[in-house]
Chain length 214, copies 2
Amino acid sequence: MSAINNIPEKTIERLSEYRRTLLSCHKQGITHIFSHVLAGMHGITAVQVRRDLMLIGFSSDTKKGYDVKVLIEFINNILDSENPINIAIIGMGHLGQAITKYFNSKGLKLHIVAAFDVDEQKVGSEIEGIPCYHMEQFEDVVSQLDISIVVISSPTRVAPSLVIPIINAGIKGVLNFTSAPLNFPQGIVSQNFDITTTLEKVAYFVKEGDESNT
Amino acid sequence: MSAINNIPEKTIERLSEYRRTLLSCHKQGITHIFSHVLAGMHGITAVQVRRDLMLIGFSSDTKKGYDVKVLIEFINNILDSENPINIAIIGMGHLGQAITKYFNSKGLKLHIVAAFDVDEQKVGSEIEGIPCYHMEQFEDVVSQLDISIVVISSPTRVAPSLVIPIINAGIKGVLNFTSAPLNFPQGIVSQNFDITTTLEKVAYFVKEGDESNT
């Protein structure tokens, strides 16, 4: 597959979102969709949709709009690896379980294949259909199961201690749900996804809206 | 409180993050911190930290660095409302429970005070210390408990049907964790926070990194 380089992060996010909408359209038997309809479903402009699809080299707009099935295939080729990507969850509390359940029911090319915890009640058992290992086994299991991405849903205070094991195990991508900002060396893609920050941000703009209305 | 207008969204996010780091420093007995140290803990430059703090009018940098306690108070004045903000969770599955537990243990000015679900097992009981109501009671409870923000952690297929009740109840802010992009009219602050998109994005950049290395 030829990689198209330098696609902006925001376009990648929107392609992922378009694909989910298109898959849902496809399920409902919709064969074609206009750019402005797809745009409306995402609360953005048709120009934005067309620009994103131009960036990935998709241009088969017809009088009936985009062919839903063809566009899904096209986005698959951009976003997906040829091989499934294996993911591990570190911290199998409520959040880890929610993510696993949610994710593995979707039939994506990304599979959560293992969980890690230090709770003896969890270690050695299967939770949401995947085996839970002790954190001490991290490096070995990552290598055996060919895991390349981890999701951190541990308590925040534990998160900084995970950086070294993650680097040592050769992990390539990290999605961090804790409130501890984690820094990884170049070569490891990491994304902090902090719920508190987002909720505080919403609250701030709600407050500002109130004040500007009075 | 005087509102400082037009603070960029990204600055608000970072202020929330700085505050958590500063609170943790304060707990450890650290009284002063240099901008480059604070910056390093967040993986950004000292220039960025200084620019953010300048934007909110904070400039009491001394030879010992920023006074941690004073800076926390300063950020509190920007981010927090004078009154606590009440939040409801819609969808009290694993994710809703994880968010509630995580959030209400933090001692923030934001309080999750109610949950909504349609599962008869949950309705009428207390989960993670908060009462769970049937979605039919949504408007009444929002008004009684003075709820201004909702967190949507329902199944994705349910999410679009929540838009009208949320508008009708007079909710001001929405944090949407489902994969359904939701559009609200002006006056309602909404933020989509989609786990699938973020994980697909990390996977894409991991793949691209691999391909550019080979």
